[in-house]
């Protein structure tokens, strides 16, 4: 094949460009590959998502009942006071779950309202409850995040329990619509209260 080609274009073959040697291609590609391997960072950012309240010049007067509010205060020594009592951090999750669900319909826990949900029927929920989180300027960020984490965990566990009972699936595996329904039963209501400007 090659021979016959040479015969036809005999005089031209000397001047035509020869094939480029592609043997070093792999080396070049390897070099680039190693560069990207070294510079790449696979880690995605993880964290606790929150939404801050709008900045308003004159905040609307709060019309909440005492039973609907769970005050969580963290002092500068990283101690917790929940509804007027000193509480160790590892008991916060249970306390928050008790408060949010008010399973036994107690008078000192949030008032329950009956709502009708698609596909489930009527459910009693504590739609007006509020967890008010207040930290001191001297509180350590570690503690603050731990408290946020425990409160989030309380909601997540309640939602999971509800999902398992009604859909036989954990909350994260549900469809978007079903997740919205479950979120309606346990709406996340955490308020990061206005900073205390007087106290240091």
């Amino acid at each position: 094949m090659y021979n016959s080609f040479k015969n036809v274009t005999g005089s031209l073959s000397r001047g035509s460009a020869g094939e480029i040697n592609a043997g070093s291609m792999a080396d070049i590609a390897f070099l680039l590959l190693i560069f990207f391997l070294v510079t790449t960072t696979m880690s995605t950012d993880l964290g606790i998502l929150r939404k801050l309240p709008q900045m308003t010049t004159d905040p609307a007067p709060v019309t909440l009942h005492k039973r609907d509010i769970m005050e969580v205060w963290i002092n500068r020594d990283n101690q917790l006071m929940v509804r007027g009592e000193l509480l160790p951090l590892n008991q916060l999750r249970g306390k928050a779950k008790e408060f949010i669900s008010n399973a036994e319909n107690l008078a000192n826990l949030p008032k329950k309202e009956t709502i009708v949900l698609k596909g489930i029927g009527s459910v009693d929920v504590t739609s007006n409850h509020l967890i008010s989180l207040q930290s001191d300027r001297g509180t350590s960020y570690n503690t603050y995040v731990a408290v946020q984490n425990e409160l989030t965990a309380a909601y997540n566990e309640l939602r999971d329990e509800f999902s398992n009972r009604n859909y036989r699936n954990s909350f994260n595996d549900l469809s978007k619509e079903k997740q919205d329904i479950v979120s309606e039963v346990y709406p996340m209501r955490i308020s990061e209260a206005e900073p205390n400007l007087t106290g240091e």
């Binding site: 792999a26 590609a29 390897f30 995605t44 993880l46 603050y144 995040v145």
Partner: protein
């Protein structure tokens, strides 16, 4: 009989594996890393040991996330050991956060501006005072979606 055996041996001789497809494979890997790679944007000037948490979520779209770093300077001999806020590549005051947010908004599409998330990368030993100041400034700049950046782990056990 013996000759036959020799012949068989010769047939079984392992041939060299063709490396002709090696560049293709390498290129494939190369393209994968080129597409997935995200160049590090900011040089950290503060040391950050993020707190741990279990109920974490992933931040979805990296182009919509702005970062604010809070911690003690890494080079304490030059910058002192007072907790500092770092925006982009420089230390800043809380007052400068509004400018920073406005500048970050400029770089985004108009449709995406409402989805902007601010990720707070804060050292665990920081006192909440400075974090509260930053949060107030963010509210004033109406950048309301925030993320407390954490590592995955149990906050109650690992301290």
């Amino acid at each position: 009989m013996a000759g036959g055996r020799f012949k068989k041996k010769g047939k079984n001789k392992i041939q060299a594996i063709s490396t002709a497809s090696l560049p293709d494979i390498v290129f494939m890997l190369l393209f994968f890393f080129m597409v997935t790679t995200v160049m590090k944007q900011d040089d950290l000037k503060v040391s950050i040991h993020a707190p741990k948490a279990t109920e974490v979520k992933k931040l979805e779209n990296k182009s919509l996330v702005s970062y604010i770093y809070i911690g003690k300077p890494t080079q304490t001999r030059i910058y002192g050991d007072v907790t500092q806020i770092q925006l982009n590549d420089a230390f800043a005051d809380p007052d400068q956060i509004r400018e920073f947010i406005a500048a970050e908004r400029e770089t985004m599409d108009e449709a995406d501006q409402s989805k902007m998330t601010v990720s707070l990368k804060v050292d665990g030993k920081t006192e909440m005072g400075i974090v509260t100041d930053v949060k107030q400034q963010l509210r004033r700049a109406s950048a309301l979606k925030i993320n407390y950046s954490t590592l995955k782990g149990d906050p109650l056990g690992g301290r």
